[in-house]
């Protein structure tokens, strides 16, 4: 435990040198997306048939974007910085010459990404509140849902990153993984709009479950059984990714 915390401390020390730059982007992104899509495009949507249950489009979209923000932040944090520490600067190798072990590195790094996700999604949630888009008292739990969505990506992507020797594989992750998931997993429109054949695929993705959970919480529509299913999927994917990361990090760092 102590050694894992040292890895977190290392990440915090590095972050302390760059947090100002990231804070602005963290704040700007939800403002732009909610402004353009939520209110701009949402105005059109609400004037036509609107959404089932008469929910304004912006209120529907915001928690979806919250979860998607978790996914995107996690995808970035678990690719380039991790590759840098394994291959480019060999920071993890230097750690391994101390009492710190491979499991400490994986757990500490993932814990740090979790902390970053809480920060980023909290800022996002603050913007939602400012725009009057958190309609339920338990909407704040959406921060947890979005963080968990992020971890469900961070753990398996970290495991993948440790198998790579350069950053070429990351393009594929973003282009064929993160972007389609962002667009088609219920963030912008209900997955029921998808062709019937594609709907089951959406249900299999962590993004769908993260978006659904955050949305149910924000709109006050959460039911315990549904929430438990969403949670189980997100925790399960995170755990599987973590187990894989233990193996791939060991292969990359211990020869």
């Amino acid at each position: 435990m102590g050694r894992t915390l040292r890895v977190v401390e290392y990440c915090a020390r590095v972050y302390r040198r760059s947090w100002r730059g990231t804070l602005f982007v963290t704040f700007l992104s939800p403002v732009l997306f909610l402004g353009a899509m939520g209110f701009g495009l949402g105005g059109f949507v609400d004037r036509s048939d609107g959404l089932p249950g008469g929910v304004p489009y912006a209120a529907f979209l915001a928690p979806g974007l919250l979860a998607a923000q978790g996914m995107q932040t996690a995808a970035f944090e678990s690719t380039y910085p991790i590759m840098g520490r394994i291959v480019w600067d060999r920071v993890y190798a230097a750690m391994l010459a101390t009492p710190i072990g491979v499991r400490d590195i994986v757990l500490g790094q993932l814990a740090w990404i979790g902390f970053r996700l809480v920060l980023v999604t909290s800022v996002f949630f603050g913007v939602m509140v400012a725009f009057g888009l958190a309609r339920s008292p338990i909407a704040v739990l959406g921060i947890g849902a979005a963080t968990l969505t992020g971890l469900a990506f961070a753990a398996p992507i970290m495991a993948f990153t440790a198998t790579q020797r350069n950053d070429q594989g990351f393009n594929a992750i973003f282009r064929f993984g993160i972007t389609p998931l962002f667009l088609f997993s219920g963030t912008f429109f209900p997955v029921e709009q998808l062709p019937t054949l594609l709907q089951p695929i959406a249900w299999l993705t962590p993004t769908y479950h993260g978006v659904a959970l955050a949305r149910d919480l924000a709109l006050g529509a959460a039911t315990l059984p549904a929430a438990l299913v969403h949670l189980a999927v997100l925790v399960g994917v995170t755990a599987a990714g973590l187990a894989a990361a233990f193996v791939t990090f060991r292969r990359a760092l211990v020869v």
């Binding site: 102590g2 050694r3 040292r6 401390e9 290392y10 020390r13 590095v14 040198r17 600067d89 060999r90 920071v91 190798a93 230097a94 750690m95 391994l96 010459a97 101390t98 009492p99 710190i100 072990g101 211990v254 020869v255």
Partner: protein
């Protein structure tokens, strides 16, 4: 600090028997035996690919042993890795300094990995920066430092936990002569303070400068062991006469140098005569009517030992 006693013998800091490392079908280290005593400076000398780094990584408990016995500080790396590493300092072949942190931060965070308090880590960091003459660069980024400075910072980092055993993998490779001498001076002072040094090198002068005892490695095996002096006495003569002949002339030297030295080694660019009296050999060469372009008498070195043992020079 006295070594722990075991049947009356001081326990070696590193003890290896039949130590082997294989990567798939490739054998990097082939059943080597050695012991490192507390307080000594012990060297692995050999060309690139001889198995030195693999051996160091096993001692450093970052690379699992394939076969054989290895004990470091009396403990088994397979089961006690973190406990051993807590008492080691490691200077890897490639610098692994953190480019995102300052010089001082590199040391402080490293101290934290060894569970030092923040105040203690900072105190030791400044003392070590002073020792390696980098205190004035404490708040600078790592990137602009010269190669020699980075190497010194890496050594300072390896000392943050006040290790009993310092592992140095090619500590001065790629440094200019001035930077090398500064580093040797620091390592010599550490040795005098009682830190046990284990280092690898492919520089003969480095091994002669720093090592009390060394093993010569070639093709994954140990081919000789002893102090630099012992190895020179055992495998070569006291002096070496180096002769250079005009291009083409060395081809028909066949037999004409016989009897002038204990051993004659013909290299592409020169001829080496191993003898205890180099000056006498120079005279004898001229008496036989040979006219070398140049004749140099020098003390024999570990380079000659290596040549004698492997039939090859130690070039990269």
């Amino acid at each position: 600090m006295p070594g722990r006693m075991s049947r009356g013998e001081p326990l070696p800091l590193v003890h290896a028997r039949g130590l082997t490392k294989r990567f798939g079908a490739f054998t990097a280290v082939d059943a080597i035996d050695f012991d490192v005593a507390r307080g000594e400076a012990f060297g692995f000398l050999g060309p690139n690919g001889a198995g030195k780094t693999s051996t160091m990584r096993m001692i450093g408990c970052v690379s699992p042993v394939t076969a054989g016995t290895l004990r470091v500080l009396g403990l088994d790396p397979a089961t006690d890795g973190p406990r051993i590493r807590a008492r080691l300092g490691v200077v890897p072949q490639q610098d692994s300094l953190d480019m995102e942190l300052t010089v001082r931060e590199n040391l402080v965070i490293y101290g934290r990995y060894f569970d030092l308090s923040r105040a203690e880590a900072r105190r030791r960091a400044d003392a070590l920066l002073d020792f390696v003459q980098l205190l004035d660069r404490a708040d600078s980024q790592v990137e602009p430092l010269s190669g020699g400075m980075k190497r010194r910072l890496t050594i300072a980092r390896a000392l943050i936990n006040e290790p009993e055993l310092l592992l140095l993998d090619e500590p001065t490779t790629g440094l200019d002569p001035q930077a090398r001498h500064l580093l040797w001076d620091k390592l010599y002072r550490l040795k005098q303070e009682g830190v046990t040094l284990v280092l690898t090198t492919h520089y003969m002068d480095e091994a002669e400068q720093l090592c009390d005892r060394l093993v010569v490695m070639d093709k994954a095996k140990i081919v000789a062991e002893g102090s630099p002096r012992q190895l020179i006495e055992r495998y070569v003569t006291r002096e070496v006469l180096e002769l250079r002949f005009p291009a083409g002339a060395s081809v028909d030297l066949d037999g004409r140098l016989e009897g002038l030295a204990e051993r004659v080694e013909q290299l592409p660019d020169r001829v080496l005569l191993y003898t205890d009296d180099g000056e006498a050999a120079v005279v004898a060469v001229h008496e036989r009517g040979l006219r070398p372009e140049s004749a140099l008498v020098r003390r024999s070195t570990l380079e000659d030992v290596f040549l004698r043992l492997t039939g090859r020079t130690l070039v990269d």
